[in-house]
Point group: C2
Chain length 399, copies 2
């Protein structure tokens, strides 16, 4: 188990997120092998990677990717070099901080555990704005509703019905903040009455600007009442590469991805394929066989990668039991466990409901080391699942 992350690590990862593009496999492997501090030193030329580290880097890359290069690190160093002089992680953190945001990094209590399913592709960090301090909605309580930018009236109507129905069922609707289906999904989620975070937008560019400009008002509302996330630092432009990589985050953060409308070739299909690859549910909304905007969803239905979804109830069913069991009790109980690692689950089960228990006792009951209990209590407390009591800890209720 890791300690709660330090401010230094936050600074290092902020810097790394500006140096390295999303899904930069060499960079991600370097961080995995050398840790964020040495990775940053190596990436910025302050330190040289030894033979042992280079060999381990190659082994890590071999295991998880096909890079097709024998000199991965030297290629990457060339790629990163031009950006070194622009590094100013304190400034980036300050920019986002002024917007009420923060940088989330692995190990944070609110870090979405579901992103670990991306393996080496797990992002280095997430820039966040909005209502994230109580935690990013767990994967089991999140459904992605995505689709093409040039949506039809039909697509907008279905998106609205599904999104508001999902929010009413306790889900958070996640999308990409784009025009068309995305915007409709966010808008309808915000319009539905809910105490929980109703919608979350994962952006392809930096969170200091609203892009696309026509969605500024909507994105502003999400930044205030929902959550905005981005893997790239403030000021980063939403490039095509970043759009495609952003899609993997949407897929990983949601228990199911519903494609409402998509043309034959569409970014929404890319998100759907990411979701399928991660073992998440994939849904596609049927439409007229004469609508080009349904050609992509029908393609998903035909190739067997998606389930036909015609309303919010079916979307919730695809997302998993949280959605089908509408009793709030069941929903909360399941949501409690969502996104927790094995040790934290053991610890959660060990926490007494009424009177607090000491760390030593918890370690014995949970069967995990004292340092794991300490680290886990930090995460569970941040998630509202553990509360200090009688000189020890007892169970809390999330949210």
């Amino acid at each position: 188990m890791t300690q709660l992350p330090s401010d230094d690590e936050r600074l290092a990862r902020a810097a790394l997120s500006r140096l390295m593009e999303p899904s930069d496999w060499i960079g991600l492997a370097l961080v995995a092998v050398a840790g964020p501090f040495d990775a940053l030193r190596i990436a910025t030329g302050q330190m040289t990677a030894g033979h042992g580290l280079q060999a381990e880097l190659l082994r890590t890359l071999d295991r998880e990717t096909t890079t097709g290069t024998t000199q991965p690190l030297s290629d990457a160093l060339e790629r990163w070099a031009p950006r070194v002089k622009d590094l100013a992680p304190e400034r980036d953190l300050a920019v986002v901080g002024r917007l009420g945001g923060a940088l989330l990094i692995p190990g944070d209590a609110v870090w979405p555990a579901a992103l670990a399913d991306l393996g080496l592709g797990e992002p280095l960090c997430l820039w966040a704005r909005g209502r994230f301090t109580d935690g990013i909605p767990a994967v089991g309580a999140t459904v992605a509703v995505v689709g093409s930018r040039d949506s039809t009236n039909y697509g907008n109507q279905v998106t609205g019905d599904i999104s508001s129905g999902l929010v009413q069922r306790g889900y958070c609707v996640i999308s990409g903040g784009a025009y068309g289906i995305d915007a409709q999904a966010h808008r309808s989620a915000l319009a539905a009455e809910a105490d929980h975070v109703a919608t979350m937008a994962v952006m392809a560019g930096g969170l200091d600007r609203y892009y696309p400009a026509g969605n500024e008002e909507l994105l502003r509302a999400i930044a205030s009442r929902g959550i905005l996330l981005a893997e790239v630092p403030p000021g980063a432009a939403p490039t095509r590469w970043r759009f495609l990589q952003r899609n993997r985050l949407i897929a990983a953060l949601a228990s199911a991805t519903i494609v409402v409308e998509a043309r034959w070739r569409s970014g929404a299909l890319n998100t759907a394929h990411h979701a399928a690859g991660l073992g998440r549910g994939v849904g596609a909304v049927p439409g007229s066989v004469y609508s080009a905007n349904s050609a992509g969803t029908h393609r998903l239905l035909r190739d067997g990668s998606a389930t036909a979804i015609t309303d919010a109830a079916e979307a919730a069913e695809l997302a998993g039991p949280v959605g089908t069991a509408l009793e709030p009790g069941t929903l909360e109980t399941l949501a409690d466990h969502d996104g927790l690692g094995v040790d934290d689950l053991l610890l959660l089960d060990a926490l007494p409901v009424r009177r607090g228990s000491t760390v030593d006792k918890l370690a014995i009951v949970a069967g995990i080391p004292v340092r794991s209990v300490l680290a886990g209590l930090g995460r569970l407390e941040a998630a509202g699942l553990a509360v200090p009591d009688a000189g020890g800890w007892r169970r809390g209720r999330r949210g």
Copy 2:
């Protein structure tokens, strides 16, 4: 191998088809065990079933059905008795004959081999009108296009596009002759230019009347340019039971069943389930999630029993290689073999392409008895696959 059926057998089966409802398991088992002649004698009270026959009947029923009665035959005899006095098979045959039709029975060269897939549920006979003398289109060249009676404009348009596209690809479009999707399927198939039989209607009532009356003109056109089939004799009313049983014939006669529009509960779904049970392809056309007429097709897509079909090419692909390979050569070669039994396939392969071969030689080459060669040659000749040549037989070309 059986001999070509006699006129007496035709008379017996005509009578049996009036006595027994479609899928009367006791009746079908009785015919399977005792043969049509004794079955008719027993069914009409002219003969009593011995213990041995009754035991075999029970074994046959146990093997293929669950009847839930210990006295199956006596129950059935009671059921059949009231109809005995109305038996007039010669009259029925004459009625259909005056309409240019005939009674087809198993063993006839034009009997659709695909119906054997129904097992004990294979119909006792088929009353036929229209262009059936060159053979009922084989299962590999037939696609069923079915749907609800109260079709929408959307449903009609898709039906028309799929049906005419299928006919252009060499398929025969089969349907149920009802209002709505069925009528549109037949109409568009007839309107498409084709040398082959473009459409076939399997009716739930007798072929001496046009039902529903509003489709009279259409059904008359099918009787002249296509094929009308029914399991029930002239004069038989289209009851609900007969509609449901008729659906199994549509499913069995087609290599794939496409449901264009269907409500949540619809007879078309019944046809689709029959098709799935027979291992035939099942397709469903997507539509608006707000259309009640697409609720049934979406249901099929969701429960995984149907493939999404958006145009004729996809329907043809579902139906099998005949549809995907549009070269006429491939199409004919494959169609040649469709619907033939194992012995006839062996015989077909044994037929020389250029100069005729004798029956004795064919028996040796094919490895089947002389009597099977003789019976098979009758069927192959009727199908245009064998032609007399040089005192023997050579291969012909169907069509």
